[in-house]
C-alpha cells in the first residue's frame, strides 16, 4: 500500500530544464511545490573525473538505466516493435538536471514560420502543397507572442551570441545577454565561404558561457574553457547552462520548493477529469507513496510525459487508422544527413578543443526562408559548422573508401584526425498520420508497466530535403579552401542504432483545438485542467533546430499560466 503524504499545491514530475524552470518560477511567486526525480542528485563537484570519454560518452554514465525502462521501436505499423536494448539514436537522460546536463548547449529560437506552419504554407503555396497524410498544424501561438519568454529564458541561461539582428530569424527585442563564443580557424573558413555565396552566417547561440555572467536571478557563473567535453558530459565549471547551476538553486533558496530524488512516478491519479496527485516509488527502498496535489505538472521529457499520460489513462489515445485522439499524435524527430566534409592536406586544426555550441551556421535554407514552389519538400534545415571537440574513441575520420580497420585505417585516421572539417545539417521533421506513440503490447519495464512504442520512419519529404541540403553543404565546403571535399546526399530508413539526436518531439501537442491537440498553449490539458504537460511533446512538428531554446520560452510562459490557474482556481488559461 502506498503511504499517503500531505497534500501540496503543485507536484512536478521530472527535474530537468522544464521542471527546473517551473519550480523556480512558482517558488518565486510564493507557490509551494514538490519536485520528483527518478534519478539521483547531481552537482558540479561530481564532474571531477568528467574528461573520461569511455565512462560518459560510451558507457552512458548520465543516461537512463535501460535495464529498468526503455522504449520499443518499429519503422512502420506492419513491423513488430522491439525494445531499444542499448542506447543509440537518442540518449535519454536521468537524474537531477535531466538531459539538460548532458546537452551541447546549442540554443536556437524556432522561426516565426514554425509557429504558424500550416497557415503560412497554405498562404504561400496553397493547400495542395501539403502532401496527403502530413498532419501539419499551427501551434496556436505566434513567435511575437512568445518573444518576451525567449528573452527571459535566454537571460536566465546566459545565452551567448552575436550582437544585432540576423535577417533570417525572428525579430529580437534585445541582444543576447552574452557576446559570441571565440572563433576558431575552421569557423572563420565556414563564415567566409558562406558569405561569399551570399548567405548570412551567424555564431550558433550558445549555452556555453562565452564570458563570466550573472543572471537576473543573481546566479553567477564562469566562462567556458573550450575543454571539448560537453555533449554526454556534465560541466565541471558550471559554464554550460544546466538546471542544476541555474534554476534549481533559485527554487531551493526560496524555501518553497522541495526536491525528492530517486522518486519514480508510476501514474497520475485522477477522477472526474481532475488529477488528484501522483503515485511514485522510491527506487532505493521500493517504498510506494501517494503525493496528493492541486496541480500536477509533467516535465519528464517528451517521451516519458506521453507514456505517463497513456499509463494513467489521461486524455484520448491517438488512433492512426482514423487520425483521431491526441495522446501519441504527431511524433517527430530530427532529420540529419547531407553533410559535407572539407579535407585539408596542407594544414591542421586543433579539433580536440571546442565546446558543444561552438560554431557558425546559416538559416538561408531553414523554415520557409527560401522558395519551395518547385521543391518536393517543405521546411528545411540549419546548416552549420561546429567544433565541439573531437574525442579520440568516437572520432576516427578517414576519407571515403578507407578500410575500417588495419594498417591503412590506422594510418589514415591518425593523419586526418585534425584535417577534416564537417558541415552538418540539422533538418526539420514534419508530422505524419502514421508516425505516433502508443503503449507496446508485449514489452514491459521493471515494474511491469508497458513500454512506450515509437512508430517512425524517414519519408520522401526527408530524403528530398537531405538531397537538396547536400548541394548546399558541398557548395560551402568547396569555398573553404580545402584540398578536396566530399558529401553524402542520401538517407534511407530511420535506424535506431547510430546516434543522431536526442530531439524527440510531439505526442501531446499544444494548440487551440481539442480535436488535434492535447493541451492549450500553456500546455494545460484539455481533458484535465489541473494537469500541465510541459516539454517537446508540445511541438506539433520539429524545426530545423535544436529544441531547447524554444522549450525554455514555452516553459516560462507555462509557468505564468500555472500561476494564473493557481490564482483563479479553475478553468482553462486563455
Amino acid at each position: 500500500m502506498a503511504t499517503k503524504l500531505p497534500k501540496v499545491p503543485v507536484v512536478i514530475v521530472g527535474m530537468g530544464w522544464m521542471g527546473g524552470i517551473i519550480a523556480a518560477e512558482l517558488a518565486k511567486a510564493g507557490i509551494k511545490t514538490v519536485g520528483l526525480e527518478r534519478g539521483k542528485r547531481r552537482k558540479t563537484e561530481d564532474y571531477f573525473m568528467v574528461h573520461d570519454e569511455l565512462r560518459y560518452a560510451l558507457r552512458y554514465d548520465l543516461m537512463q538505466d535501460l535495464s529498468r525502462e526503455s522504449i520499443t521501436f518499429r519503422n512502420t505499423s506492419k513491423m513488430t516493435a522491439l525494445p531499444m536494448r542499448t542506447h543509440g539514436s537518442f540518449l535519454l537522460g536521468e537524474g537531477v538536471g535531466g538531459s539538460g546536463v548532458h546537452w551541447n548547449g546549442q540554443n536556437y529560437r524556432f522561426l516565426p514560420y514554425d509557429f504558424q506552419i500550416r497557415t503560412k504554407t497554405i498562404e504561400r503555396y496553397g493547400a495542395k502543397k501539403i502532401p496527403d497524410g502530413m498532419q501539419l498544424q499551427d501551434w496556436g501561438i505566434t513567435y511575437d507572442e512568445l518573444e518576451p519568454y525567449f528573452d527571459k529564458y535566454e537571460k536566465m541561461a546566459g545565452i551567448s551570441g552575436d550582437k544585432g539582428q540576423n535577417p533570417m530569424v525572428g525579430k529580437r527585442s534585445a541582444d543576447f545577454p552574452v557576446g559570441p563564443m571565440k572563433k576558431t580557424p575552421g569557423i572563420k573558413l565556414f563564415e567566409e565561404a558562406a558569405k561569399k555565396l551570399g548567405y548570412h552566417p551567424y555564431m550558433v547561440p550558445s549555452a556555453n558561457l562565452a564570458d563570466n555572467y550573472t543572471n537576473p536571478d543573481g546566479i553567477s557563473r564562469a566562462a567556458c574553457q573550450y575543454c571539448g567535453f560537453c555533449e554526454r558530459f556534465g560541466c565541471e565549471y558550471g559554464a554550460k547552462s544546466d538546471p542544476v547551476v541555474t534554476v534549481l538553486p533559485v527554487a531551493e533558496k526560496t524555501g518553497n520548493f522541495e526536491l525528492r530524488d530517486l522518486s519514480n512516478v508510476m501514474e497520475v491519479l485522477h477522477t472526474g477529469g481532475r488529477a488528484t496527485g501522483v503515485r511514485y516509488i522510491n527506487t532505493l527502498t521500493g517504498e510506494e507513496f501517494e503525493q496528493p496535489a492541486d496541480v500536477v505538472v509533467l516535465t519528464s521529457y517528451a517521451l516519458h510525459n506521453v507514456r505517463l499520460l497513456l499509463l494513467s489513462k489521461l486524455g484520448k489515445p491517438y488512433d492512426p487508422s482514423t487520425g483521431t485522439g491526441v495522446i501519441g499524435r504527431n511524433y517527430a524527430y530530427q532529420v540529419n544527413g547531407g553533410g559535407a566534409q572539407a579535407i585539408y592536406e596542407d594544414r591542421e586544426f586543433n579539433l580536440f578543443a571546442g565546446a558543444g555550441a561552438l560554431g557558425s551556421c546559416i538559416d538561408d535554407f531553414n523554415g520557409d526562408n527560401f522558395d519551395h514552389s518547385n521543391l518536393p519538400f517543405l521546411h528545411g534545415a540549419n546548416i552549420r559548422y561546429t567544433q565541439a571537440g573531437f574525442r579520440p574513441i568516437q572520432t576516427n575520420p578517414t576519407p571515403a573508401g578507407t578500410p575500417k580497420w588495419g594498417k591503412e585505417f590506422k594510418k589514415q585516421s591518425l593523419h586526418y584526425y585534425n584535417r577534416i572539417l564537417t558541415i552538418g545539417v540539422q533538418g526539420s521533421s514534419l508530422p505524419w498520420r502514421h508516425h505516433y506513440l502508443d503503449l507496446d503490447p508485449t514489452y514491459k519495464d521493471v515494474y511491469g508497466r508497458p513500454l512506450l512504442r515509437i512508430t517512425y520512419d524517414f519519408e520522401d519529404q526527408d530524403r528530398e530535403m537531405i538531397k537538396f541540403m547536400a548541394t548546399k553543404t558541398i557548395a560551402i565546403a568547396n569555398e573553404m579552401k580545402a584540398t578536396k571535399t566530399q558529401a553524402s546526399n542520401t538517407i534511407s530508413n530511420y535506424d535506431i542504432v547510430p546516434y543522431q539526436s536526442t530531439h524527440n518531439t510531439g505526442g501531446a501537442v499544444m494548440g487551440t483545438d481539442p480535436g488535434n491537440s492535447a493541451t492549450n498553449t500553456h500546455m494545460q490539458m484539455w481533458d484535465a485542467e489541473n494537469v500541465f504537460v510541459i516539454g517537446a511533446n508540445a511541438f506539433t512538428h520539429n524545426s530545423g533546430y535544436n529544441p531547447t531554446g524554444t522549450l525554455g520560452a514555452l516553459a516560462y510562459r507555462a509557468a505564468e499560466g500555472i500561476t494564473k490557474y493557481m490564482q483563479q482556481g479553475k478553468g482553462m488559461i486563455g
Partner: protein
C-alpha cells in the same frame, strides 16, 4: 605443427563432410564449441601452446596487467586479433603493446560485459537491422563465442591457431568474420562479434589509461590528442596544430 593445408580443396572437403553428416546449413560451416568437437575427430589436432609459453609482455609493468576474465588462450587470441585491427607501424605501437587485450578483459569482467544497464528482458526476436541488436547474450558471452569461432575457423582453414598465423592469414580470418557469410557462430553472428571486437579495440587504444589500455598515453600521443586538459581557452583561436604534452585523469589526483 601440421603442414600448410591446401586452401583450395580443404573447405570443399569440409563442406562435403558437413553435408554427409547432415550438419550443413546452406553451405555454412558450423563453428563454436560444437564445430570444434566435430573436427577433433576428423582432422589433425592443433598444437596447443604449452601453459606458460605466452608471449605477453613480462610482468614488469602495471599491476593491472593481469586477467580477471579471460583464460590464457582467450587472452592470446584477443591480443593477436586486436593487433590486426590496430597494428604496430612506423607511427607507433599497436593494440597489443598498448594493452588493449587487458583493457578488453577488464571491461568484459565488469558491468559492460554483463550488460547491466541494457534492456535484457524477452521475448527475443531478431527483427530488422534498424531495430538494433536483439540478441539475448551478454557482451562477455558473445565475445567468448566469437573467440571460439576465431579459433575453430583458423584451425579449419589453416590448420593453425589464430595467433600462429601469418598476418595476412589473420587478416583473411578477420575479414571472414566481418563479412560473416562463411562463419556460423552459436547464438550470435560473426559480424556482431567483429563489430564489438573493433569497437573494443579503439576504446582500448584511446580510453584513459586507467582502464588498462592506451599504455603510457601512447595511443593519444600518436595522434597529438592532449587527453585530459582543463582548458583550451588560450589555444582555441590559434592557427596551426598546437602540440601539448598529454595528461591523463591520474593528473587530477596529484
Amino acid at each position: 605443427m601440421p603442414t600448410t593445408p591446401n586452401k583450395d580443396s580443404k573447405p570443399m572437403s569440409r563442406r562435403a563432410f558437413l553435408r554427409n553428416s547432415g550438419l550443413a546449413l546452406g553451405g555454412v560451416v558450423l563453428g563454436g564449441a560444437f564445430g570444434t568437437a566435430i573436427w577433433k575427430d576428423r582432422e589433425e589436432q592443433p598444437q596447443e601452446a604449452p601453459p606458460g609459453a605466452s608471449q605477453t609482455p613480462a610482468a614488469s609493468g602495471s599491476y593491472q596487467d593481469a586477467l580477471m576474465f579471460f583464460n590464457q588462450e582467450q587472452f592470446r587470441l584477443t591480443e593477436a586479433a586486436v593487433e590486426r585491427i590496430y597494428p604496430e607501424d612506423e607511427h607507433g605501437p599497436g593494440a597489443k603493446k598498448l594493452g588493449v587485450a587487458y583493457y578488453i578483459d577488464h571491461q568484459l569482467a565488469g558491468n559492460w560485459g554483463s550488460n547491466t544497464k541494457d534492456y535484457m528482458m524477452g521475448p527475443f526476436s531478431p527483427g530488422e537491422a534498424t531495430q538494433g541488436y536483439q540478441g539475448r547474450l551478454t557482451r562477455a558471452s558473445m565475445f567468448l563465442i566469437g573467440l571460439n569461432g576465431l579459433k575453430d575457423y583458423s584451425q579449419k582453414t589453416y590448420g593453425k591457431a589464430f595467433p600462429e598465423l601469418e598476418e595476412a592469414e589473420q587478416d583473411e580470418v578477420l575479414k571472414a568474420f566481418e563479412k560473416g557469410d562463411k562463419v556460423k557462430l552459436n547464438g550470435t553472428d560473426a559480424p556482431s562479434f567483429f563489430k564489438n571486437l573493433r569497437t573494443f579495440t579503439l576504446e582500448g587504444v584511446y580510453a584513459d589509461p586507467m582502464y588498462g589500455g592506451n599504455k603510457d598515453m601512447q595511443g593519444w600521443k600518436m595522434r597529438n590528442y592532449p587527453g585530459n586538459q582543463m582548458s583550451y581557452y588560450d589555444q582555441i583561436e590559434k592557427d596551426g596544430l598546437v602540440k601539448l604534452e598529454p595528461k591523463s585523469l591520474r593528473d587530477h589526483m596529484a
